[in-house]
Symmetry: C2
Subunit: 212 residues, 2 copies
């Protein structure tokens, strides 16, 4: 190759399939939706730890690493929450494009917002995990003290209190954390991860038993 | 572990260092800045291909995968270009947090915007690569026909034509693509990648010769 004099627009050669072949598994987005305190983030992190332990390439997107960074300009109005979800969906698409299994844990209370994220992905790539738990149980747990604040009127538009949560109609998975033990919850999510490996030699997807 | 009844806010256990140890190299953001047609994207992709070929974990962020997705709501006003750069910096931070070497190729004409991205990273993590090339040469290449359009007044605020490009004062690297061959340009960028590996056993960073 010589100089860049006859530069043309560069055609990307590495694609998602190349990353997936190297990583040995498909990309996917596991989207954990549910009320505050339902256990979304705990579940996402525990599942990630299991996948990481198996040598998978993973990352968790949640309020901890989004609200202080990419979405720091967004408040909690309906429009801003919609934009929040849209951006997380687009970032997840970049991560899956890089061959990674992304676990996103966000309340994401509105069906339309979740479905717009789903529409960014190929069939089977987007796995909606409804982390189901009665409001009373979530409020009794109140791990971050947010329900207490919301009841005192210190957090406006708090989901479940003065803003609705729209339950998913046909999620890929429902995990009722008021009923299931945590080990069983993790096991069920792992079973829903696309358990397929790419065979580097053939370039074909080959079924392999899920090692969990 | 039992039920989630006594849920507390989950403390993340997997950190950037865990991902880096597994991947066998440090995370970094290589930020390619320069005029349209200077060769930023070509260089970023060729460097990525070399790193990928060495078994590194990499991803390229450029106009191709950002403008149609995460930043589709942004136009080209000064404020929107600033927000564009801010978001790319934050996304790059998530990728480096996941242990990946990110290569971002964007004109990013304003020093303040680039320095705000730099401030998100630890010393040594952010590597500014100034892809230097005279405007006349870029305009003669015009790989996407954008300069012709800009000269006809069809693209307002086009960098180099009717919007300024602020050269980096102290970039980590300057690559003059009007002088260097492409192989030499790639070699110089590779030499600037943090050539350190994490030793999984000791948990320490160990110097290792850069395998390029």
């Amino acid at each position: 190759m010589g100089k860049l004099d006859n530069l043309t627009a560069y055609q990307r050669r590495l694609t998602m399939v190349d990353y997936q072949k190297r990583n040995g598994h498909r990309s996917a987005l596991l989207w954990f939706t549910g009320l505050s305190g339902s256990g979304k983030s705990t579940l996402a992190h525990l599942v990630e730890e299991r996948l990481f332990g198996m040598g998978w390439y993973t990352y968790v997107l949640d309020a901890d690493n989004l609200r202080a960074g990419l979405n720091r300009d967004l408040g909690f109005s309906e429009a801003e929450r919609r934009e929040n979800i849209r951006r997380v969906g687009e970032v997840a698409r970049l991560f899956t494009d890089a061959g990674i299994v992304v676990l996103a844990a966000l309340i994401s209370p509105f069906s339309d917002d979740r479905n717009r994220v789903r529409a960014l992905f190929a069939p089977g790539e987007f796995i909606e995990v409804f982390v189901k738990c009665p409001l009373e149980v979530c409020e009794a747990r109140d791990p971050k003290g947010l329900y207490r604040k919301a009841r005192r009127g210190e957090i406006p538009l708090f989901t479940g209190i003065d803003s609705p949560y729209e339950e998913p109609h046909t999620p890929e998975l429902v995990i009722d954390t008021s009923q299931l033990g945590i080990d069983e919850a993790v096991r069920r999510v792992l079973q829903a991860v696309p358990g397929k490996a790419l065979t580097a030699e053939s370039g074909e997807y080959a079924e392999r038993p899920f090692p969990g």
